[in-house]
Amino acid sequence: MSARQVIRNISIADLVRYRLPVPGVLSILHRISGALMFLLLPLTLWLFDLSLRSEIGYQQLRQAAEGWFVKVVLATLVWSLLHHLAAGVRYLLLDLDLGVDRAPARRSAWIVFAVSLPLAVWAALIIFGVL
């Protein structure tokens, strides 16, 4: 009688050489972007508060947005939102049993990146004042 095959979870060291398929990359980025938005929630609310409080607050926000830190925060937030939203719509369709097979699931994952990444780059260029 042969020994039963032992299946273990991969260790952290394996993560580097593990070739995650595109839907897997989309999935972990969905989680990371969600966690980022949760972590940045106080900053988001602070910016929202400043923008609505008064004319002076609004101008202070404009000034704060000149600094690289706020720029990076804003760009991170915009990418997180775009990726989370686009990947989330894909998940809602998967919940309806649409595109569950491997080929369409991979195609839709690529479509999510094709939508979210150019929009995020465009937004980042505006935030950093290139456009």
């Binding site: 966690a35 609310l45 929202f48 939203l85």
Partner: protein
């Protein structure tokens, strides 16, 4: 972890309710964001007057607050999943989960305060 002999107090055993609520809140947030984006485009050029003007009407305040409630619930389910996946010691996880709820509740109060000052 059990409290008492048979009361299992951890895990996602709350049926499909949270699964469904995560989807429902996602749809609410998507619709709200699309409506807000359209509203911003219509209000251009954006300065303080036009920006504050978007959130001044009672209907928009209410819609935004509902979106924040949806956001808080959505974030709770997502963060709960993350804590459940990566934080194995039950006591630490429950503290993190309770902290997440308190934190999101506080953010919700803050959001309401911001909105009703406009």
């Amino acid at each position: 972890m059990s409290i008492g002999a048979r009361r299992l107090v951890v895990g996602a055993h709350y049926g499909l309710a949270d699964w469904l609520i995560q989807r429902a809140t996602a749809i609410v947030l998507t619709i709200y964001l699309i409506a807000l984006a359209i509203r911003i485009v219509l209000a251009r050029p954006i300065d303080y007057e036009s920006w504050a003007g978007i959130f001044a009407p009672f209907g928009m305040k209410t819609a935004t607050l509902i979106a924040f409630v949806a956001l808080a619930y959505h974030a709770w389910i997502g963060m709960r999943d993350i804590w459940m996946d990566y934080v194995r010691p039950t006591a630490i996880r429950i503290v993190l989960e309770a902290g997440t709820i308190l934190w999101l509740a506080a953010c919700l109060m803050w959001a309401a305060q911001i909105l009703w000052k406009v």
